[in-house]
């Protein structure tokens, strides 16, 4: 006789805690194929209040996370890859069952996601050297330009199943934002949120400080407008917002002059790039007077 499974409750990940939506709402996410312990689960459905709470948590985490050294941030991001690597089977199973892809495609997606954390981890102590510079100005000044994190970034992760898929799409969107020291509020794939919610468990056990990544499952159409208009959000990544009224989101973001990245379609959406890191940074230029000898 087979053992009776103990299914997991899929909750939001906000401020380092796994919480139900304050609204009490859930929505049913059903398996599409393959074997999973249950045929459907109830994912928490985030509300406007949850989104605002997540921004508060993300803001509170900015000074700590952006204040760490690049070397330290790189190690934390690398540890995400380590922990995820140890849970490859669980993620592949979730992806196969809820995205309806083959077991091998699901495994490939997980592996690529792990490798992508490694790739971005290596940028944390280098992007400043590549994107910053000393400036030879015409006068007795030492002048240096360095990129710094922009602050709190709201992200709509890729929504469609398949390629890049719910986990890889999430990592392509979130990892580059974290590299420089930003904190994020992410809306994962609405149809297949489970890999992202399970990834919260990886963050929680990878030395990622509480509030640095906040995951809000639910309806992007419902929550995104509140994040786009929120005055304490500095930037908006619409990567996975192609199916939404994303122009309205960009217009809402203009009120506080947020930096906005538009949606990207297709399998290359959010392809790894240095530009995805530097877009969410600000160049600060400091002039230091040189004394007379």
């Amino acid at each position: 006789m087979s053992r009776l499974a103990v299914p997991k409750t899929y909750k939001l990940y906000v401020g380092g805690k796994f919480i139900r939506s304050e609204s009490g709402r859930v929505y049913e996410v059903a398996t599409t194929k393959g074997s999973f312990s249950v045929s459907s689960v109830n994912a928490a459905k985030a509300s406007r209040k949850d989104a605002r709470d997540a921004v508060v948590a993300a803001r509170a985490a900015v000074s700590g996370w952006s204040g760490t050294t690049g070397y330290n941030r790189g190690q934390v991001l690398y540890r995400i890859a380590e922990i995820l690597d140890g849970r490859r089977a669980q993620f592949a199973e979730e992806i196969a069952a809820f995205e309806g892809v083959s077991a091998s495609a699901a495994q490939a997606q997980v592996d690529e996601a792990i490798d992508l954390w490694v790739w971005y981890a290596g940028w944390a102590d280098k992007y400043v050297q590549v994107a910053g510079n000393g400036n030879a100005v015409s006068g007795p000044f030492f002048n240096l330009s360095v990129p710094e994190p922009t602050g709190v970034v709201a992200v709509i992760a890729p929504q469609s199943a398949g390629v890049p898929g719910s986990l890889l799409g999430f990592v392509r969107a979130v990892a580059p934002v974290l590299v420089s020291g930003n904190t994020v509020v992410v809306i994962p794939s609405e149809k297949a949120p489970l890999a992202a919610l399970s990834l919260g468990e990886v963050f929680a056990t990878s030395d990622v400080p509480a509030g640095v990544v906040n995951v809000l499952s639910g309806s992007p159409a419902e929550i995104a407008p509140w994040l786009a208009a929120h005055a304490d959000v500095n930037a908006l990544d619409l990567l996975g917002a192609g199916e939404l009224e994303w122009v309205d989101l960009q217009i809402a973001a203009a009120d506080t002059l947020k930096r906005v990245l538009p949606p990207e379609p297709g399998p290359d959406a959010g392809a790894p790039s240095l530009e995805r890191i530097t877009f969410f940074t600000e160049t600060k230029t400091v002039w230091h007077t040189k004394g007379l000898l």
Partner: protein
């Protein structure tokens, strides 16, 4: 005459050879506009300088068509080396006609001739010289091999540094291989039109730069034109928001350089006399009509009284008056509407309980004038500590600890500039790290250089002008699909 009185030493306006009327500069020629012509006046005397055409929507379209044609047929096909040579030529012509441009700028804008002569125009030449050299070296700009130009750039600039802002916009755009339609500010079109003559002298191919004069409607028609690939705007945060809204959903690349409420932080170990000069330069340079002005003085409590006393003594020696007089320190306010805003906000400052002080000075009866003004006893919630006044008005606040100074400096939706005055190098570095501002001046203020990126955090806008970062505003990586998508390094 006391020892501080100076005999008038006016720069002669005879060097100018102005026309009575100026048309729009489209496709290499001056053409009459279809809008209602307007006059540009000297803000120091309110006297008429010239009549200027106003570009209608149809004129803006003609300018964009000319820029598109020049982009497709000429400029995008030209070698970087040749584009650079044109920019070097322009730089030299600006240097040769520098005095004439300085006089025209002071006449039209109201700024002191010593600033237009020693700051604005030399920087204009430097900007063209700097970006000229980039034109054939774009693969070193940090965007990978063969970065691409964007197409037609729509550029709208303010009135506070008319020709310098033109240079900040046009030089990198052309170096990167774009063509340009630029709208100068309504109240200061003169030097842009003289610059058009320089372009004719330089034999720049027709349509590569087009200049359309007019007011807000002209600017709106320009940035909303469907055949524009790039929008660059310098001006108020309110207009910047409108442009961000109207370009949302389009593939136009947008950079915005908007308002500011810069904090100038003076620690108790600062060299006080130098700091006082820096404070004066920070807020009274160009009559305070500077987006990166140090309009909030944050002074450590223990030296507050000393600093304010020395500041008052220094302000009493500033000479306010004729912009063309070589001795003038503070010139005229650019327009009646700006003057109205300064008066209104200063009155509010008094009503909110701050103490207002200005040196005794005789302001001319004609023209637009506002005396250098400082407010002490200002609370952080006061309008004069929060709103950009864009005039010669300094709000003085105090702090006790570095942490408090940083918190107060960052307590604004803006994030353009900041200053730090202290003799302690490690403190400069630590405080500069924490300030949320795009440009930080340590023991100096209001320094500009074409090699040095300039631009804001938060609601002061996005994008940088100057340096290789300034080129990025007008380039895309070679794999760029042409609209919005980033295509990163293949792993």
């Amino acid at each position: 005459m006391t020892f501080l009185d100076y005999a008038p030493a006016p720069e002669s306006a005879a060097i100018l050879n102005l026309r009575d009327e100026y048309g729009l500069f489209i496709n290499g020629e001056f053409v009459p506009g279809n809008g209602e012509s307007f006059t540009t006046i000297s803000p120091a005397t309110e006297k008429h300088i010239a009549t200027v055409s106003c570009a209608s929507e149809q004129d803006v379209d003609a300018a964009v068509v000319a820029a598109r044609r020049a982009y497709d047929k000429t400029w995008s096909r030209m070698s970087g080396a040749d584009r650079g040579k044109y920019l070097f030529r322009i730089a030299r012509l600006v240097q040769e006609r520098a005095r004439e441009l300085a006089v025209a700028e002071s006449l039209d804008n109201g700024k002191p001739i010593k600033e237009s002569r020693d700051v604005d125009i030399p920087l204009v030449a430097a900007w063209f010289f700097y970006y000229a050299g980039w034109a054939d070296k774009l693969e070193y700009a940090g965007l990978g091999p063969n970065p691409r130009s964007l197409g037609v750039a729509a550029q709208v600039i303010p009135w506070n540094f008319p020709l310098l802002m033109l240079a900040w916009k046009i030089a990198p755009a052309l170096a990167a291989g774009n063509t340009v339609v630029l709208k100068p500010a309504e109240t200061t079109p003169l030097t842009a039109l003289l610059f058009a003559e320089i372009l004719q002298q330089a034999d720049l191919p027709a349509g590569v730069v087009n200049i359309v004069t007019g007011a807000g409607a002209t600017g709106s028609a320009l940035v909303n034109h469907p055949d524009v690939n790039k929008v660059a705007f310098t001006g108020s945060t309110a207009v910047g928001r409108q442009i961000a809204r109207s370009t949302a959903g389009t593939s136009k690349k947008l950079t915005l350089e908007l308002g500011g409420k810069g904090a100038n932080i003076v620690f108790d170990d600062a060299p006080i006399d130098q700091a006082v000069e820096g404070i004066v330069n920070g807020i009274f340079f160009n009559q305070g009509q500077v987006c990166c002005a140090g309009s909030r003085l944050l002074v450590q409590e223990s030296i507050h009284d000393d600093v304010v006393e020395r500041l008052k003594a220094r302000l009493s020696t500033l000479r306010v008056g004729d912009p063309l007089d070589k001795n003038t320190d503070v010139g005229a306010i650019n327009s009646a509407s700006q003057l109205g805003r300064m008066r209104e906000l200063s009155d509010i400052g008094e009503q909110e309980g701050a103490e207002r002080w200005s040196p005794a000075c005789n302001l001319p009866s004609e023209g637009f004038w506002f005396p250098p003004t400082i407010f002490t006893n200002v609370s952080t919630s006061s309008r004069i500590a929060r709103d950009e006044i864009f005039g010669p008005v300094l709000s003085v606040l105090t702090f006790r600890t570095p942490a408090e100074a940083i918190a107060k400096a960052n307590n604004t939706p803006y994030g353009l500039s900041a200053g730090i005055w202290t003799d302690k190098g490690s403190r400069i570095l630590a405080v500069a790290d924490k300030l949320r501002a795009g440009v930080v001046w340590a023991n100096t203020f209001n320094k500009f250089d074409p090699a040095s990126p300039f631009g804001g955090y938060k609601e002061s806008g996005y994008g940088r002008e100057g340096g290789k970062q300034g080129l990025h505003a007008y380039l895309a990586p070679s794999a760029f699909a042409g609209s919005s998508a980033f295509k990163g390094d293949a792993r």
